[in-house]
């Protein structure tokens, strides 16, 4: 596609519910990043893939967070047993292997009630 696509744009979840957020990177982009952005804050790194390999997951805040990219293209960020502190915008970005620019999607705003 022309850009990074994220779905859904908005998600409201009840506390304790599981959610799945999808990211469709730019075709051919091997690197994919997930970020969490709390209201009024800068994006915080969650995890990074190169193709299907998850090279860095040091930013995942707890074992309730899980990300996958099984075929090296679309990625899913899953949050189990959501809590109110998980409320944030989740941003996905992609780049070519040795790229010097990351292209961002419009994010998914997750609200846990």
């Amino acid at each position: 596609g022309a850009g990074v696509s994220q779905s859904p744009r908005y998600k409201v979840a009840k506390r304790g519910q599981d959610v799945a957020l999808r990211c469709d990177p730019i075709s051919g982009h091997v690197s994919l990043f997930w970020y969490q952005q709390a209201l009024g804050q800068g994006p915080e790194f969650l995890t990074y893939f190169q193709n299907e390999a998850q090279l860095d997951k040091s930013g995942l805040p707890s074992d309730r967070f899980f990300a996958e990219r099984p075929e090296g293209s679309v990625s899913t960020l899953k949050i189990q047993r959501t809590q109110q502190e998980d409320s944030a915008v989740y941003l996905c970005a992609s780049s070519i292997a040795q790229g010097v620019e990351a292209f961002f999607g419009q994010g998914t705003r997750l609200t846990v009630v």
Binding site: F33, G42, P43, F45, Y48, Q50, Q98, A102, G105, Q106
Partner: protein
Amino acid sequence: AQTVTQSQPEMSVQEAETVTLSCTYDTSESDYYLFWYKQPPSRQMILVIRQEAYKQQNATENRFSVNFQKAAKSFSLKISDSQLGDAAMYFCAYWKRAQKLVFGQGTRLTINP
């Protein structure tokens, strides 16, 4: 670990005037990239300008220019002839290739007509 600091949570400027946003960072690396991203209310992260650390010349993109001081680890953004459409959150970011982008906390820029 790399850190990026933006010390100005908010800035305002009169339309057509010039404004400078500050950013400092900390790294022990010599080869890296620095970015300024703009994030309007739509949440889409838009790349404003990029600076390669090995280049001494400051990057310029139309009305946007940077003052890159590598020894001081400073990377400020100057916006000339400010326009109403420049109003947004601005994030400074550091990137070591093939690693994660590290963002500052952001500066909210308001343009007064």
